[in-house]
Symmetry: C2
Subunit: 101 residues, 2 copies
């Protein structure tokens, strides 16, 4: 069963673009992650300092493996200092539709 | 520029599975929609009656065209009676990452 989530991150004031850039670097690294089907970085037209990431993983094991990897290895070390608050997660079970493998 | 959104829908009590099924039918129809890059239906492990749809469109025009099409044509006519409240939207600007064309 596939596993997905929306991750909402709020940057410190004015750091939205830097946060988005850092997450794009993390996303590039995820291309090599086993079972990573979607890792899309989104800015928001309404909130300059908010970035959302849309994740879909082939299964629970691949999701866990990516989340538990070393922060530095994932490139998250550069991103965390830009956050104004801990990330918020909406957990999902993707069931179908265009764009889902 | 790509356009995306998360759409949160809450079904009347007990109708979460029926809502998800109806949205999967809508999603199948979206395969033929010009510019539809992602239209993923998700259930939520934490909330039985909540369904989220993840949308990505090639541009504003294709997003508008799909949203403005006849409700019956889109298959949304069968879905609307299952909703306990109007859908909520989080508007997004997808900027990159695995799974984005």
């Amino acid at each position: 069963m596939k596993v997905g989530r929306y991750v909402r991150m709020v940057a410190t004031p004015g750091a939205g673009a830097a946060l988005a850039d850092g997450l794009l670097a993390v996303a590039e690294g995820m291309r090599a992650a086993a079972g990573c089907e979607l890792y899309v970085v989104n800015r928001t037209p309404d909130e300059e300092d908010v970035v959302w990431v849309t994740e879909v993983w082939a299964d629970e094991a691949s999701s866990d493996a990516a989340l538990n990897q070393d922060l530095g290895e994932a490139g998250l070390g550069a991103v965390l200092p830009l956050l104004a608050a801990p990330p918020e997660f909406i957990e999902l079970t993707p069931i179908g539709g265009p764009g889902l493998s």
